[in-house]
Symmetry: D2
Subunit: 437 residues, 4 copies
Amino acid sequence: MLQASETLEVDKSDKTIQTDMSVFEQLESEVRSYCRSFPTIFTKAKGYKLWDTQGNEFIDFFAGAGALNYGHNDPHIKQKLLDYIADDGIVHSLDMATSAKERFLERFHEVILKPRGLDYKVMFPGPTGTNTVESALKLARKITGRETVISFTNAFHGMTLGSLSITGNSFKRHGAGVPLNHSVSMPFDNYFDDELDSVTLLERYLEDKGSGLDLPAAIILETVQGEGGINVARFEWLKRIEEVCRRFDILLIIDDVQVGCGRTGPFFSFEPAGIEPDIVCLSKSIGAYGLPLALTLIKPQYDKWAPGEHNGTFRGHNLAFIAATEALRYWETDEFAKETQRKGEKVHQFLKQLVEKYPQLRGEVRGRGLMQGLAVEVEGLADQICKAAFKRGLIMETSGPDSEVVKVMPPLIIDDEGLEKGLSILEKSIQEAIKNL
Amino acid sequence: MLQASETLEVDKSDKTIQTDMSVFEQLESEVRSYCRSFPTIFTKAKGYKLWDTQGNEFIDFFAGAGALNYGHNDPHIKQKLLDYIADDGIVHSLDMATSAKERFLERFHEVILKPRGLDYKVMFPGPTGTNTVESALKLARKITGRETVISFTNAFHGMTLGSLSITGNSFKRHGAGVPLNHSVSMPFDNYFDDELDSVTLLERYLEDKGSGLDLPAAIILETVQGEGGINVARFEWLKRIEEVCRRFDILLIIDDVQVGCGRTGPFFSFEPAGIEPDIVCLSKSIGAYGLPLALTLIKPQYDKWAPGEHNGTFRGHNLAFIAATEALRYWETDEFAKETQRKGEKVHQFLKQLVEKYPQLRGEVRGRGLMQGLAVEVEGLADQICKAAFKRGLIMETSGPDSEVVKVMPPLIIDDEGLEKGLSILEKSIQEAIKNL
Amino acid sequence: MLQASETLEVDKSDKTIQTDMSVFEQLESEVRSYCRSFPTIFTKAKGYKLWDTQGNEFIDFFAGAGALNYGHNDPHIKQKLLDYIADDGIVHSLDMATSAKERFLERFHEVILKPRGLDYKVMFPGPTGTNTVESALKLARKITGRETVISFTNAFHGMTLGSLSITGNSFKRHGAGVPLNHSVSMPFDNYFDDELDSVTLLERYLEDKGSGLDLPAAIILETVQGEGGINVARFEWLKRIEEVCRRFDILLIIDDVQVGCGRTGPFFSFEPAGIEPDIVCLSKSIGAYGLPLALTLIKPQYDKWAPGEHNGTFRGHNLAFIAATEALRYWETDEFAKETQRKGEKVHQFLKQLVEKYPQLRGEVRGRGLMQGLAVEVEGLADQICKAAFKRGLIMETSGPDSEVVKVMPPLIIDDEGLEKGLSILEKSIQEAIKNL
Amino acid sequence: MLQASETLEVDKSDKTIQTDMSVFEQLESEVRSYCRSFPTIFTKAKGYKLWDTQGNEFIDFFAGAGALNYGHNDPHIKQKLLDYIADDGIVHSLDMATSAKERFLERFHEVILKPRGLDYKVMFPGPTGTNTVESALKLARKITGRETVISFTNAFHGMTLGSLSITGNSFKRHGAGVPLNHSVSMPFDNYFDDELDSVTLLERYLEDKGSGLDLPAAIILETVQGEGGINVARFEWLKRIEEVCRRFDILLIIDDVQVGCGRTGPFFSFEPAGIEPDIVCLSKSIGAYGLPLALTLIKPQYDKWAPGEHNGTFRGHNLAFIAATEALRYWETDEFAKETQRKGEKVHQFLKQLVEKYPQLRGEVRGRGLMQGLAVEVEGLADQICKAAFKRGLIMETSGPDSEVVKVMPPLIIDDEGLEKGLSILEKSIQEAIKNL
């Protein structure tokens, strides 16, 4: 097994990237962000690699924030897309029936739902993560006739008003410009380490008629909080949350936008917990090729929508259906999930060694599958590490309320060579960053 | 000029379409809607035509609800997409800089903004109409420190919580499951025919410290309300609304999602009114090929976003940038706008003749450019007409609070032959529908 | 009949009142207001007169903002209070049954409700105007299961959060510190003079499924808006509002807190309009002697409260019951109402003459019964008039969104001599105030 | 010291009270509540005793829910009231200056604030508890520019919309008919017994930028929760809450409406904790004789009201000023506070003996000063005890989310004889109630 820094060659490159970004500075809004962390102009991409206009190569440990689980421009999907476009397959169809959509529905049922014993109706909201979350909230409120939704500390569910109201980050919340209501933020698993059992607290609130908590329509959660700092909920905790939902007749919504589609190994992140959410939100990698798509999965008994009660122009993005259908091949056997777990474990162990080797980091390793994080308690250090990594050709970002967690989130299809190369750059970047402490 | 029914051959086909829709019925959510109005499975499309799996051909008077102004699968755009994909151009990039995005920004500035003397920073929110509206609302509230937004009767701005709160339709609003607040719905132009001057009413509310209207952050409007029933605001009214905004220091947001990108002739629907909105929302046809994309245009002095204060995974949809850039070619001269106006006028006159010829319709013609509507006062009749049209191979939908308006909204690139053929089918469909009155 | 200024002697006094207000300045909050307009320390009062610590006498054209319709310290009520207290009658009893409350309920039924053919259950909320309004809103929302309440421009209903949300005044609204929601402010009668028929606008909003107006739980209004500037709704308008309520199954709430208890002549202000509100809010003069009391009258079919669903500590203020019961004597015949109307008409004519005589006022007379107002279009002039009046021994206040209306609102029991004396001072004050124009 | 049941004679009376309550049943709203628990008609009261129309005598262990700390109809206050009324002292004066108010302000400063080293400006909101709370919330939001207010589980702050939003009880909250927002309910002290340190949890939420808790304007609390079940906050907990407020620049509001004015011994309930709230809410016993009055005490630096920004008709209830001023005599020495503590301790010990003696109660004793509670874990038993007590001539009520706590809350002026008699009846009532278990 790979040992931190010992078996890897040092990447000496330390390229200085100096690109003319003036078009973006002059014409694009100040809201742009990632182009500030990765100040170059990308032009091509393949698998786990990207290239900029100056020919520099980058390893991708970011994977489009979870939208590129199958890597950039997967060759099989690519071919399907080229064929479909060349053949004038219908591209835009609102929510009309198309053969591309029919095929996707069939295959998704056959490859994903049926083998897992899951019975969900598939809804196509607008093709972004926040749209699926908004549709889930609306449905849960409609079904129960209640307004309140419980989310958790450090949750991230999206940037439109409904999703933002159940998102924890104060900077993002403040952007709403109106008070965010109809939601209650309860402590996520391990929020207090071992001091507080957050499910028991939640139960106490629900049992107590004087707690001030109005009976909620739904509880929504990410099994691993990505933006919130790679906080992993224990399976036992998830199970108990599900029991609370059943006991109090509350809908359970799992937001698998970032952590689904195999990011933690299994297709759905909640599978190993043995729970069955009432509604599941999918987006990001479901579009397979970086193409916008979102799904809301609904237990049949809760599919109480009136026709058109939620809609949107780009629900029927047929290129995404083509890509998504092809990507389902990865799920025909267990192989893909197992490989992800193997690689995830490799990263996890590597990060653990780094923590021991570099005590200056005051580090902690968190994660499940190929969603791993290195929490660094020194203020600003995580950003320094990512900055140093970029100069060495590695794309990584931070997460957590204080940007304190370095995220290791490569495309799942990355090979061991790529993984090791990336991890090696990570170690070099740490070495550089802690020099300045 | 085309006379209603006289110069056109009657389409006798009246195809009976019987398609097996069971996959959709079994696997897709009840929320699906257009596939109920157009119960067949589409598979190919080109220009203003679609074909289903049984080889039936349809004329498109719907244009993806305004997302296909350039028609289906425009050959030039298609070629650019094929080349880009074949060449492994980067597809997904969040909001990182890419050469495809750079080119789009430059061209959009050069072809659209500069010649019109407009100075806007370009923001890429999530790639749907509701996402650009949500971003506009957030920004307006941030800049002004106020919460209230004024929208208008029969406005439609989207289905996520912020956009829904400024949408008029009660069925859609009810879907929210929570009260919709921070918004005030004022009467749109001509809401009362000539009885009420709605700008004067608005001014009275704003002047009167006791009116109960809190000073708003913004006024948002569509210059032609599509979903609301093809309600056309007069240029003079728009000009006066802009004056009210200036006088009371309120931001003016134009939602050009459906009616922009040339639908009424000029690129922006507000150009002939001589107004300069502070924020403009674009989506639908900006992606050119039916590809999800949205833009929020912001006057530089209001581009007060902090980096990342609004974000989303699919902001950087490079295929859409490629398509959008290529589509800008249509705007290098005035020709396209003029043609749209000519064809729009042709439709308008045709519809007027229909209204005269078929008084049973109790009809009224509304519209601007190629966004034309035939309001039919007989309950349920508009739906009957569209149903009959579909059987004859014409795709049309209704709008308005009671689905009382038949929308004529073909791709802008439709030729006269297609237009006439479609209008002829429309007349036949009317004849059939009124038979049952 | 009294002619403005001609038959009245001029009050030459122009006392200079200089009182040591330091205790209030040092110990009381900056929120105090009337003590700034009337900067002296009052100590005794009787009928329509007050005296300060320096022995100055004042005529009261303010009547405790409508709380002293029966004047200060009515001798019959006084005696009843003295007897009750001396006899150790129970004073505080929450909502327990007491003989004082029993007697009040019986007499209120007998003297007020029964002869008017009204059938209301009596609820005692907390003893202030805003508490009765809050209870009415809660009940209307409970009964209908809807949230929205329609109020009108320039309405004033109270200062707690629910009442404030249906109040028009922006200064007062702003004080809430949170956005005020679940309410829509429609134009009051004559808001646009004759240009806009506000009932028709309201109906249009309610009929139109796309208007953006959610079906309301209730419409709440004052038949004459006191704080809003003595705006008088026509009986025909009230009748039509009632019809709208019936047609759309909306509850009609009349806030008679200021304008009830005979202020306009009849006990309830809405009697001459021939309407029957579903809920009526009473406070101010119902306590008769300036004692805190409030009533919420509820049609029996809407009395759907669960026991204790709304409560409060001072619901059972027995001194107020004693006073209120005694005051009902005024209502045993029609005499009191007629006298009020006669005096009201006298004031009205006098004000009209003033308007003609002093065109510099750019004045308009508004009012019904003994709630009369002189709207003065010159900025700040109304305040100047009241200030000058105070120096001459007359207590009057302004109302309206810009404090532009001088209110003439004496105790109903004022005699002609007092009335004439007060009006004469008013004219002198006007003469003084317009000198400085 | 008194031993449970041993030294007390048994009251054998067990009167059967059968009163004609038909007037209330026919004419008063269903919302009435206490008259159902105590189904008789009261007519006189003195000290700690009440009498009904049939001459039955009752001992008062309820004290007007805390409004009668000085007992019913205190003879000294009574004389002052009789003199003032007889002398035609001004009764109603809105917020004008009066000599009665001046005297109260001076004496309150002299007797209460100054000796305690407290520096507060006095505001007079509407004369009920909920009005003072609403004014406190408004002010805190105005000063900080923030919306959120933190309250605690099982808090009770009032029944108008603002106060209700920070009240825990779900039955009462539900009555609002609209979602209650801008508030967060955190766990009160000992909410989890020793498992959860609620201040640490609160701090974690405030420190964590991702917690989903928006920085609040204020924290509001009762030091002993009356309606919530006699939950006593430890002084140490209160001290830490104050520290959290200081650290995060949050205003601390103490709602001393029920528990102030000596109920726990000292005038303010928070004195022994050594904290200095920024705003204090007072009502109930401040009016001394059961007369409606409320005060909002504000640190001078936070007295940022504009004149009239909060108002109300009955702010200047001069009878209440007369009564309140006279009652301040009780506070000229320490005697009153000490006596209350002595009697409170007596009750506390007695209740503890009851708990031991009657294990069937599964009882727990809670309380501070003369606010004592016997929590009874057997469902419905607390109500049975109070019912039995009433039949024996003792007025007591329950509190807590499940009405599980028997409250012992006599007037503070009760003598030992009355206290012992009441406690003896309580024991008898327990004996009767548990017979049926």
